[in-house]
Symmetry: none
Subunit: 215 residues, 4 copies
Amino acid sequence: MKPVKKIRKRDPVRTGKAILSAGRAEFSVAGFEGARVDRVAEKSNMSKGLIYHYFGSKSGLFLAILEDIYQELRDENSGLVLDDFEPEEGIRQLINHTFTYFSKHPEFLVLVNSENMMHAEHLKKSVMMKDLFRPIVVKIQALLDRGARQGIFREDVDVIQLYVSIVGLGYFFLGNRHTLEVVFDTPLFEDDTLSKRQRHIEDMILSYLRPNPTH
Amino acid sequence: MKPVKKIRKRDPVRTGKAILSAGRAEFSVAGFEGARVDRVAEKSNMSKGLIYHYFGSKSGLFLAILEDIYQELRDENSGLVLDDFEPEEGIRQLINHTFTYFSKHPEFLVLVNSENMMHAEHLKKSVMMKDLFRPIVVKIQALLDRGARQGIFREDVDVIQLYVSIVGLGYFFLGNRHTLEVVFDTPLFEDDTLSKRQRHIEDMILSYLRPNPTH
Amino acid sequence: MKPVKKIRKRDPVRTGKAILSAGRAEFSVAGFEGARVDRVAEKSNMSKGLIYHYFGSKSGLFLAILEDIYQELRDENSGLVLDDFEPEEGIRQLINHTFTYFSKHPEFLVLVNSENMMHAEHLKKSVMMKDLFRPIVVKIQALLDRGARQGIFREDVDVIQLYVSIVGLGYFFLGNRHTLEVVFDTPLFEDDTLSKRQRHIEDMILSYLRPNPTH
Amino acid sequence: MKPVKKIRKRDPVRTGKAILSAGRAEFSVAGFEGARVDRVAEKSNMSKGLIYHYFGSKSGLFLAILEDIYQELRDENSGLVLDDFEPEEGIRQLINHTFTYFSKHPEFLVLVNSENMMHAEHLKKSVMMKDLFRPIVVKIQALLDRGARQGIFREDVDVIQLYVSIVGLGYFFLGNRHTLEVVFDTPLFEDDTLSKRQRHIEDMILSYLRPNPTH
DNA sequence: GATGAATGAGGCTTCATTCAT
DNA sequence: AATGAATGAAGCCTCATTCAT
């Protein structure tokens, strides 16, 4: 009836960010199903009720976290001004940024995998996701066009397929590292293995992009 | 008055398979955390107690399912006698088999993703996984060697990196189709898109394998 | 940056009435336990804090609502000047007013039922309820006396029992309409059924009041 | 993971009854909304999970309780062989049984009131309720017919309206006793008041049924 | 081997109430 | 006077697991 309260200094903006941050940590440990709202409350030092006050539900929080991290990835790539580079170097920079982001933010992989398990039911409701990656695709297309005009790149490249490959070659390696280590019975993540993988990706993508003399 | 008991004809092998099959269906809907033992019982038409009798725990069942499906993928690839093909055709066959398996068995993607979320804690305990994929790697290596001797393939190929790429280029596309559709706001899985993706993968892998004249 | 605050023009009377009105609507949907303070705030367009400022607690608000609606019923009946009618007509008017009020204000039934479930714990604390219905009882008693003197009514009528019956015959029918429809598997509330019920009540009450020749 | 269990001797029938009985007690204290599943578990000495195993949900339990108590009321009245009595005595017996049941089982009043607050949403789903009260209605109709033939009862009686009145005159008085006591500021439930009310009801119903000489 | 009743910890969510602003 | 962020107890329900039968 008369609960004793621990009253916090009010700061809605900070509170929202704290929950989002704690939520990202929690959801990226074991995905949506494995995450516990209680633990988000603990980690953020907020009451459980407050999480519902801000995000309405576990799903609502998850969507907010997804939007937040996708935006972060987008921002990371937006910082990259591809126009400043020669075509090959531009592609290398794109691969580097992407791969580095994934290796620095393994949460992204877990969150997105979890969302795929649920058929993207949260993301589909998001209005923010609309056109979030459009600018990047446009920039890559411009780079490809420039490379093709210079005769450095082949001309029949589907930009979506290419981008999916650039992302996938890193994403799969990093996101599936635990099972891959078991399958190949070898530690794939020694200190130098990440850069080895990155060089392999660059090699593969650029081999693909170069005009094939035998064609 | 006496409760009617549904007595099953005893057939341990059939029972085990039924549970495994129902379990695969259940675990591949929402991963380990989202799966429910009750639903496995329903789907398999077995009692819950029986599942525990056979597999000991939810984790035990999950491991058995993982082993089962990895073995299936291995068998699928073992049927492929790479020696019978010219090097390029061998690679194409490998890509084709791998990609087809994933598109026919989307469960594999969910199960493996889920296991990665849990840091492969089940698979690490498996003795069966030891060397399961060794034969395939050896066969691919032989193919690469043959191609290199014929001057068709470059000589510095890391077979693990290559295999990871072959798998990853399909796995990522298929396993992340739901988020990718939202991100690129375009249906990627129209009737003809799967074969388009497969051709893209062949193109990329073979471009990479061909010796580069500019090197 | 500064949060925009919706400052209301201060008008305590209007505010109190708005809360009371929204509260009545809310509490009459599912009774005391089912009602939500949040929804009262929404419906009244007031803040939750304001409700507590005015009424102290959910219970306080509920009591205020009960007092308000009982007063309304009393006022409704006070408008009826029984002295103006012949005894039988006076009773008919009383029945009519009572029945009409209940059918026009089904909230009353829910609120009072809910209060009875809680053993009238709120109403017992009310000072306003003291003697609220005394005048009506007195008026009915006068009517009965007049009828008895005229030989139209029997002489041994207990005014409380009679009034309880007048109220109960309508209240029960209207307040229990949903279960009654299921129990008797027939729609009891077609357009004309209410007036049919009302005539039945008049018939029954007046049969009772008329002096019985066989006694 | 390995919870310590307090294993009970198995007896599904007894278990179901125990839950139903405890549930009736709990739900009749404050209706559906006020009832707590936890308390049903405590009172029945069963685990909360078991309640859900048997009844699926709080609503499912509530419906089972409603069906149970309606059946009980029906059985109570079925035991009454109206054919054995003279018409007037038959009506008296019916009133007596009904009134006695309500005063002995005040739970019925609370449960039914609560169900009405929820627009009978549970009862409407019940198949068992279909025709449960049909036999009683038929029996009363037969009694009325007999009385009419004997010239003791009037001939234009609607059996449903009559039965609703018989029930309502007791139900309202007993179910609303707490608010009535406040409204009339007098203890209505002294030792002898129940029988006084019952006599009043008999008087009223029989006055109504007797053919009116002035008509 | 086989069943499903039974458990209890813990999951998500709600809600009356308080209080800094 | 007025707001709504913040609290925490408690509510309904789920679920892996055990075990009497």
